[in-house]
């Protein structure tokens, strides 16, 4: 054991000197020791509580599944409520209401314009964008108001060759508003769909 000498104020100064560096041997600060001990005790308690006591704490997966299921239920109810009040006529009605179409336009410009163009021509400065034009009265999946709404909601049947489903990002009422905006921009009646789909 190395010898140590006590300095006048009662603090131990160790005798050994390394390249001129001396070392005191002060007591460990209590608050520091308590921090160390508390974190250790907390770990033991948490581990035992989660793993080794018969408490029924849900796992992360259980918690998540429950929350997501609730959200899905809510969404489903929302959709059903919306659909009950919608038909081709009411959507056409909406497309004449500037309150709806202006809300729809805002959504269109933030989500849809990147592929279908701000002016619905699916071009930007003469360059083709990935989407199809929405102002040419040609509808791949049907041009009735409800058909358009269905396509926005679910996307194209093969998503790798067409549009994504928007239901994850837009609520049914928002989709209805976008639909009303698109309808408001139509000048000619729609031509028969190439691959018509009707059901929602």
């Amino acid at each position: 054991m190395q010898k140590s000498s006590d300095t006048s104020d009662g603090i131990t100064l160790r005798d050994h000197v390394y390249d001129g560096i001396e070392e005191y041997d002060q007591k460990l600060p209590n608050w520091w020791l308590f921090t160390l001990y508390i974190t250790m005790v907390w770990f033991v308690i948490a581990w035992v509580a989660y793993y080794q006591l018969p408490v029924n704490a849900p796992t992360d997966y259980e918690k998540l599944h429950k929350e997501i299921a609730q959200i899905e239920l809510k969404k489903q109810a929302e959709l059903e409520k919306m659909l009950a009040s919608l038909n081709d006529d009411s959507l056409l009605e909406m497309s004449k209401d500037p309150n709806h179409t202006s809300a729809g336009q805002a959504i269109y410009e933030s989500k849809c314009a990147a592929c279908h163009g701000v002016d619905l021509t699916a071009t930007l400065g003469g360059v083709n964008l990935p989407g199809v034009p929405l102002n040419d009265s040609e509808w791949i999946y049907g041009g009735n108001p409800l058909q358009i709404m269905y396509t926005v909601t679910h996307g194209s049947p093969d998503i790798t060759k067409g549009m994504i489903a928007w239901q994850a990002q837009l609520s049914p009422s928002e989709i209805a508003q976008v639909t009303s905006y698109i309808l408001s921009k139509q000048t000619a009646p729609p031509e028969p769909a190439l691959k018509p789909r009707t059901e929602i």
């Binding site: 054991m1 190395q2 010898k3 100064l13 160790r14 005798d15 050994h16 000197v17 390394y18 390249d19 001129g20 560096i21 001396e22 070392e23 005191y24 041997d25 002060q26 007591k27 460990l28 520091w32 020791l33 921090t35 160390l36 974190t39 907390w42 770990f43 033991v44 948490a46 581990w47 035992v48 793993y51 080794q52 006591l53 018969p54 408490v55 029924n56 992360d60 997966y61 998540l64 929350e67 997501i68 959200i71 809510k74 929302e78 933030s110 989500k111 990147a114 930007l124 360059v127 083709n128 964008l129 990935p130 998503i159 790798t160 060759k161 067409g162 994504i164 990002q169 837009l170 609520s171």
Partner: protein, 846 residues
């Protein structure tokens, strides 16, 4: 001076200060490079044009480009991190170690030749890194990006360094090892261990390899390495340097020897366990997440022990803070160490982490460590060393003071802006509409919101770089007008000195080791035993702890003497360090490698890539996409709402290397496959802003010119098969043909949608649709699209049959998640009524 009676012959030795000078100058030079690349990368996040397009402007249109592949963020960011860690801090650490070790051992380094090989070898490695990383040659794992031939060189040079260091310890003329040397020992041993395990790989060519671990295993090993690179490359060597240079500069004794002991051993033991806190709320098994979080919390005090010993050593020397730039840098550096080691445990709490992870908060946290702790400790050390190495006063103290202030302002701008950016983006990402069913903000909007803050970060970084350039000028002027000095010193050479005489038995067979061993033994089996047996194990641990306290109170002097003896014996000391750092990794990694394998996957299993998709994946890795895009949907509601169902462990089980990512500057891609059309991806890679106007992603025009390397695929697939990925058996010709056919299919879909083929000036496009298809099919972009469309594809695995409940009653260790006790899973109490009907699958001790 020492009260040890000097014995032996008096001789004069000359220290090798030349090596220190070289390492110091190398560190300063690479430091400028590392920080400059960092500043460029920071501006790239604000201005996508910084990824190459700006060359058009600075050459007044002479040089036409949409983007330069060698300069994209995905390739520069690894260059920045590797340069900052291994070139700047690495060389600084070597300078500090070479200077102090010789003096603490009272001897010249063991071998000048080894010192030379170490220096030049390390610089060559750095040059190799600076060439390969921008070229897109990468392993795709953070801070472990360098390709396998460079990995081998690193191992060789590290062994040279270790040999030189340990042989210097062996020939030392100082009986016992000073605390700085403990930290150096821990650094050398642990970095070697981490580096080798995380770089186990099988080459497929001279510049490419696949790591042997995949998916969750690779994630765990990577962050065991990544986190402890911070611990044992950026922290322990710098603590050692603090213990030497700070008391020297302050002229005061170190505050507390016993604090050194306690915080050293607790730090090296606990640090290793904390790696999984980089993977909280992911598909990593829960027990590892729990260990990662709580060991991070336990790490708080050991880290602060270092800060306390540093700051309290200055008691009685605070007046120097006003005048001496060295002390200024040291005080600020140690304070930043304290701040980031408080922030670290905070960020490791799972709920805090759920907000902060993948955001700029983490970037800010890291930089308060690297800029504040590493950078300022380096500056302080260089300003202290320069006069001693070149035999004249520092050229300008005022300039050094100015460096301090401009650097400090830079750090504060950096850290504060990143903190706000992280919290703001995190909150925006989680924001839902009033119904709570839909997220409000698009990902790109959340990034746009923090544009200003990111700009402040870039400016803060520029300030810091400016300060560092002042250091360059100051040191340069000092060097120019000084003369290199190698210190000579008279020492007593006593071959009979009582050192390294401890027997292994004396080192290991004693109370402190015995109590630690048994306490840890029961503590560790406590994790893995089923309830009942585990409770017993915990009681044993607590009993040993209580007994240890009792014996320590009684035999305090014996314990202290054992430790003093140990510190006079470098080999047993080093072996104990190795054991202390090996435990944590072993406990976490070995069960994961045995249990979390594809054969054991339940729920969902990743679909094996087709040859073309594998080629696309290698392009994804090579372009460094993981620097901005994660592939891990966490078990959090906002993540699931934004990206889809949470990622299962099995869904990346074949991924060599894993690409879970650690930062989302762009959205997560785990379920990107099938979400958008091929043409969308095509346009997006050509110019992201054509489909996402606010995007800051670089353009990737070279993917439309470079050809997919179909010929390399058979070799790559053979390696993956060897590592257990169940690729279907195909001949090399079949592999190539399969890849080409899939490429044609995708190219056809692009041609059908009439995508534009980018052409150079004067170049003629393909005349017919089939020529266009054939042209596109060979290009890298098609392979990349194939990969992106595959992301998130899995097959359902039927749940495994529950094992027969009639099982021999033995204590069956298992990973904690399988042993977890729930009301349905209570260990049976041996009673007549219950034992009949209980079907608890877990055997228990009784």
């Amino acid at each position: 001076m020492s009260s040890d009676n000097p014995t032996g012959r008096k001789i004069t030795i000359e220290f090798d200060d030349k090596t220190t000078r070289w390492f110091m100058l190398a560190s300063i030079g690479w430091g400028v490079v590392a920080m400059l690349v960092g500043v460029i990368a920071a501006f790239q996040l604000n201005f996508w044009q910084m990824n190459g397009k700006f060359f058009e402007w600075i050459t007044f249109g002479y040089f036409q480009t949409e983007g330069i592949e060698f300069l994209t963020f995905g390739r520069l960011r690894p260059l920045h991190t590797n340069a900052a860690i291994f070139a700047f801090v690495g060389n600084m650490m070597f300078a500090g170690i070479y200077y102090s070790t010789q003096r603490l051992c009272k001897t010249r380094m063991f071998s000048d030749l080894l010192s030379k090989i170490h220096f030049w070898g390390w610089q060559l490695i750095i040059v190799g890194a600076a060439i390969t990383l921008p070229a897109g040659l990468t392993r795709g794992k953070e801070y472990a990006e360098l390709i396998w031939p460079i990995n081998l060189a690193v191992v060789v040079i590290w062994v040279v360094f270790a040999a030189n260091f340990f042989l210097t310890l062996k020939i030392r003329r100082e009986k016992s090892l000073y605390v700085a040397l403990w930290f150096y020992i821990a650094t050398i041993i642990t970095v070697a261990m981490l580096y080798i395990v995380n770089h186990l790989q099988i080459p497929t060519s001279l510049t490419h390899s696949y790591p042997v671990f995949a998916g969750v295993q690779d994630a765990l090993v990577q962050w065991w390495y990544g986190h402890n690179a911070v611990a044992f490359f950026l922290t322990t060597p710098i603590l050692g340097i603090m213990y030497y240079y700070l008391p020297k500069a302050a002229g005061r004794p170190v505050y507390s020897y016993r604090l050194s002991i306690v915080h050293f051993w607790s730090l090296v033991f606990i640090y290793i366990w904390a790696g999984p806190h980089h993977l909280l709320n992911t598909a990593l098994p829960k027990w590892l997440q729990v260990l990662g979080m709580f060991f991070s919390l336990m790490l708080w005090a050991p880290s602060w022990g270092g800060m306390l010993n540093g700051l309290l050593t200055l008691r009685g020397a605070w007046d120097k803070l006003r005048t001496d730039p060295v002390i200024k840098f040291f005080v600020a550096g140690v304070t930043f160490y304290g701040m980031s080691t408080f922030e670290g445990p905070l960020l490791s709490i799972r709920s805090v982490n759920s907000l902060a992870h993948y955001t700029d908060w983490i970037v800010g946290h890291v930089h308060s460590g690297t800029l504040g702790w590493n950078g300022f400790m380096a500056a302080g050390m260089f300003y202290w060393l320069a006069p001693r190495l070149w035999g004249r006063e520092l050229w300008s103290k005022n300039l050094a003071n100015f460096h301090f202030w401009i650097g400090l302002v830079g750090i504060l701008l950096y850290v504060a802006s990143m903190w706000f950016a992280g919290v703001i983006q995190g909150l925006m990402l989680n924001e839902t509409d009033p119904s709570g069913t839909r997220l409000v903000n698009e990902f790109v909007q959340t990034v746009d919101k923090i544009n200003g803050l990111m700009l402040i970060r870039a400016i803060g970084g520029t300030f810091y770089l400016a300060g560092f350039i002042l250091l360059v000028i100051n040191i340069w002027k000092t060097v120019k007008s000084g003369i290199p000095v190698n210190e000579t010193r008279e020492v007593f050479d006593d071959p009979e000195m009582k050192k390294d005489k401890m027997t292994w038995s004396a080192a290991f067979r004693n109370d402190p080791i015995a109590f630690t061993f048994w306490g840890l033994f029961f503590g560790i089996i406590w994790f893995f035993l089923p309830p009942g047996a585990s409770h017993m194990a915990l009681l044993c641990t607590l009993a040993f702890a209580a007994l240890a306290v009792y014996r320590f109170k009684k035999d305090k002097m014996d314990w202290a003497k054992w430790y003093d003896d140990l510190s006079e014996n470098y080999l047993p000391f080093s072996v104990l360090v190795l054991i202390a750092v090996a435990i944590g990794g072993g406990i976490q990694i070995i069960p994961t490698i045995t249990v979390n394998r594809a054969v054991n996957v339940e729920d969902r299993l990743q679909k094996v890539y087709t040859p073309l998709e594998l080629a696309g994946r290698d392009i994804y890795v090579s372009e460094g996409c993981y620097n901005c895009h994660s592939q891990m949907i966490r078990t959090l509601v906002p993540d699931v709402l934004r990206y889809g169902d949470y990622s299962r462990l099995g869904e990346s089980i074949y991924d060599h290397p894993f690409q879970w990512g650690s930062k989302r500057t762009g959205p997560d891609l785990a379920r990107e496959g099938g979400k958008r059309g091929n043409s969308w991806h095509y346009l997006h890679m050509l110019n992201p802003r054509s489909v996402s106007p606010q995007s800051r992603m670089p353009n990737y025009p070279w993917l439309f010119e470079k050809k997919t390397d179909f010929k390399a695929l058979p070799g790559k697939i053979a390696v993956q098969q060897r590592m257990g990925v169940p690729f279907p058996i195909m001949t090399p010709e079949e592999i190539e043909q399969h890849a080409r056919e899939q490429a044609l299919e995708i190219a056809q879909s692009l041609v059908d949608e009439q995508v534009k083929i980018p052409l150079k000036e004067g170049q003629e496009g393909p005349a017919t649709a089939s020529a266009a298809r054939d042209h596109l099919a060979g290009k890298e972009v098609v392979a990349l699209i194939a990969y992106l469309q595959k992301l998130g594809q899995f097959e359902e695995i039927a749940p495994k049959e529950t094992p027969d409940p009639v099982k021999p009653r033995v204590i069956k260790p298992a990973i904690p998640d399988e042993n977890r006790m729930t009301p349905e899973n209570v260990p049976e109490i041996p009673s007549v009524t219950e034992s009949e009907e209980s079907d608890a699958p877990v055997a228990q001790a009784n």
